[in-house]
Symmetry: C2
Subunit: 421 residues, 2 copies
């Protein structure tokens, strides 16, 4: 294992990955160690909250998770027994990790393609596979593929020079959006440009200079009425399932709130969004959960924004709100088990993210939040509070949307420390 070995310590780590009863020590990988009943081990690359949230359904199903974590104190490492620390960009590390599990999957799209190709060549089940993942890793590749498939996208161009950017901007009626093709998340790597002049023009020039040989993705700024997401699961044998289409609201590029199902979405529009999602999953050969972020426009069009091939923030509502959560479903899909029922359990489910705020003691808020509302479901990720960081989410299910919204928003705001009553 090429990762940093953990060593025995008698002073517990401040962040608590190591308890007073011991520290997990890396010993050489020897053989797969079965758990009773023939249950498999799923290896997850990445140790954040998405891996963490796979653990409850894994425990329920009797499936074991092993995580390749970025740090000993990661969100997943506190919940998942076997969480060796290692670099997912290092072939030897990933290969050795893969040797101890039955299937490899991901909580992010950042493992380099060549490493994934090598695992596949070595016979490791990698789900989703590198071909599919490539379209979630690279927004330019994604746009080209969707356009080839005739799927609706914002107008877009690949731009390597300021002249190309300027020409594209001139062809648009409104503003544009500049995106780094790789590595963006939570709005990082997204530049909104209402007018290509002044400081925005300067920043655009800087981005272009720093860009790789493929340049950047430029898109029309879509005057969307709202953002939707289609959540799909697909198994290696081709079975697919689609949860109800949701509405998601971003603040400063970060997912803030999700309503399931999207209020007032006509049956036709819902079917359209779902069929776009299913088509993407099938054509790209996705395995596991796929989230397709979309824009709804005033004239009723639905345009694809981007793809995520893993459980996604727009699907957190399914933990409490659907018969099968996206995390259970992701495990079922990557294990090629039959997929679970994706129906909602209540007429409405509202999920609101808890972003880090002023207060570090999140636990203290439970007293008030739970007393005020016995029905709110609080999910915390065991992450250090930093302003703007996703540290948890809350979910409320019910018959009345306004009531669910009020309750979920209140709980999230209180935990964050924005309100004190």
């Amino acid at each position: 294992m090429a990762s940093t070995p953990r060593t025995e310590t008698s002073t517990p780590d401040e962040n608590g990955a190591a308890g007073p009863f011991g520290t997990v020590r890396l010993t050489p990988l020897t053989a797969a160690d079965p758990i009773p009943g023939g249950f498999p081990t799923v290896g997850v690359i990445g140790g954040g909250q998405l891996a963490r949230m796979m653990q409850p359904p894994a425990i329920e199903m009797g499936v074991r998770l092993r995580v390749l974590a970025e740090a000993e104190t990661g969100s997943a490492a506190l919940a998942i027994h076997e969480a060796p620390v290692g670099d997912h960009r290092d072939l030897a590390t990933v290969s050795e990790f893969a040797a101890g599990v039955d299937v490899i999957t991901f909580e992010h799209e950042h493992v380099p393609g060549p490493i994934l190709e090598k695992l596949v060549a070595d016979g490791v089940p990698v789900r989703p596979g590198p071909a599919a993942l490539g379209f979630a890793q690279d927004k330019l590749a994604m746009r080209a593929k969707l356009t080839e498939l005739g799927l609706p996208c914002p107008r877009w161009a690949q731009v390597r020079t300021y002249d190309e950017l300027s020409a594209f901007a001139g062809s648009l009626p409104g503003g544009l959006v500049l995106k780094t093709p790789r590595g963006g998340y939570d709005g990082k790597g997204v530049l909104l440009i209402d007018e290509l002049s002044g400081s925005k023009a300067l920043t655009a020039r800087e981005w272009l200079e720093k860009a790789g040989p493929d340049g950047l993705l430029a898109e029309e700024k879509v005057a969307f009425t709202r953002e939707l997401a289609a959540l799909i699961a697909r198994s290696p044998s081709g079975q697919a399932a689609a949860w109800p289409v949701v509405e998601s609201t971003q603040k400063d590029g970060i997912c803030h709130e999700v309503i399931a199902p999207a209020p007032g979405l006509s049956a036709d529009q819902a079917a359209l969004a779902t069929s776009v999602g299913l088509r993407v999953a099938g054509e790209l050969g996705v395995v596991g959960v796929l989230a397709v972020e979309m824009f709804e426009t005033a004239d009723g069009r639905i345009l694809v924004n981007e793809l995520a091939m893993r459980p996604h923030n727009s699907g957190h509502w399914t933990i409490d709100g659907a018969v099968t959560s996206q995390f259970e479903q992701h495990l079922r899909a990557v294990l090629d088990l039959p997929l679970g029922d994706v129906r909602a359990r209540s007429p409405w489910t509202v999920m609101v993210n808890v972003l880090g705020g002023e207060y570090e003691n999140l636990y203290r808020s439970y007293l008030h939040v739970m007393a005020r509302d016995p029905g709110v479901k609080v999910h915390m990720y065991a992450k250090d509070v930093r302003p703007g960081r996703k540290v948890g989410h809350v979910t409320v299910c019910g018959d009345d949307l306004d009531d669910c919204l009020e309750r979920a928003r209140h709980a999230a705001a209180f935990i964050r420390g924005d309100i004190d009553e």
Copy 2:
């Protein structure tokens, strides 16, 4: 720590508690190690499936669990990071375990009273406390207390000699039941005696000889129409909540099936059963989940059978079927957090236990079970299959009771290996 220390091994344990990435080693207890956000650590005595099933809600709430396990390979130890092995009947072991957690709770009632008293004297929050637990540990003490409170029980007597037993049997119109006051579970320690003669009389004599100074509990054999259970949660500050009353079916003294809510139970009977449960919880000062097993008789009486002060098999339906599961609620209660909503999420929920059968490979059954029924929720405990042992359960929620029953029974029977299609 007086427990057997775990030692480093390079060959992973056959049952998989230690993975190829390392073995948890016990190091001396030093100090509490906080997790980000001010979240507490709950110490659970016992490492079986009940502790295991506390882990999904603990992860969701950000609460950390630490388990004092019977063995490295226990059901909980596979799911809970910190699971030192130690003897819960040893004061030093339990005290040292308690020093590393914020509150002590249990998945069984077998910790000796004097140890619990010592912990309390040392200032450890023990929930439920020794006074309450005593009534779940000793069926004679339970009967005496319930009788003192005027709560309805089967006719009963404390019997130390065969003559006392014989006199009690003679006072009954029908058969009787002999019980060991302590340590019984799953029908072990329960002897049904339709007539006190022949081999039953012999066995009764043997039991009396082996009994402690308190002798045995003798009860009338209740001609019940069915068994009910009231599931209650109570917090140290006295808040209490009662889930819908359920019907449970035992086979050979082992819980087999639970239907929530109990079909056809009148509102009056449900209120009566609930009020008995709430009264027991309050009068005995229970903290955490309390299950009150009851008999319903043909003439409409409700008699208390026995008490369990922990999450209970009759409450497994709440994981999928209620807004707040008994496992989440138990954690909330022992942490003195406000209790969660106990309402059912569907008109009907059916839970069927999976007992060990012929087949050791439980996982293989998933392909068929999940394909046949995408809505069934399968819960597995990562235990070695042994005939008659509880190795998992399945749950189905829905609008139609017969449909739920058929589906849940089919899934459980298939996983067990009783049917093959």
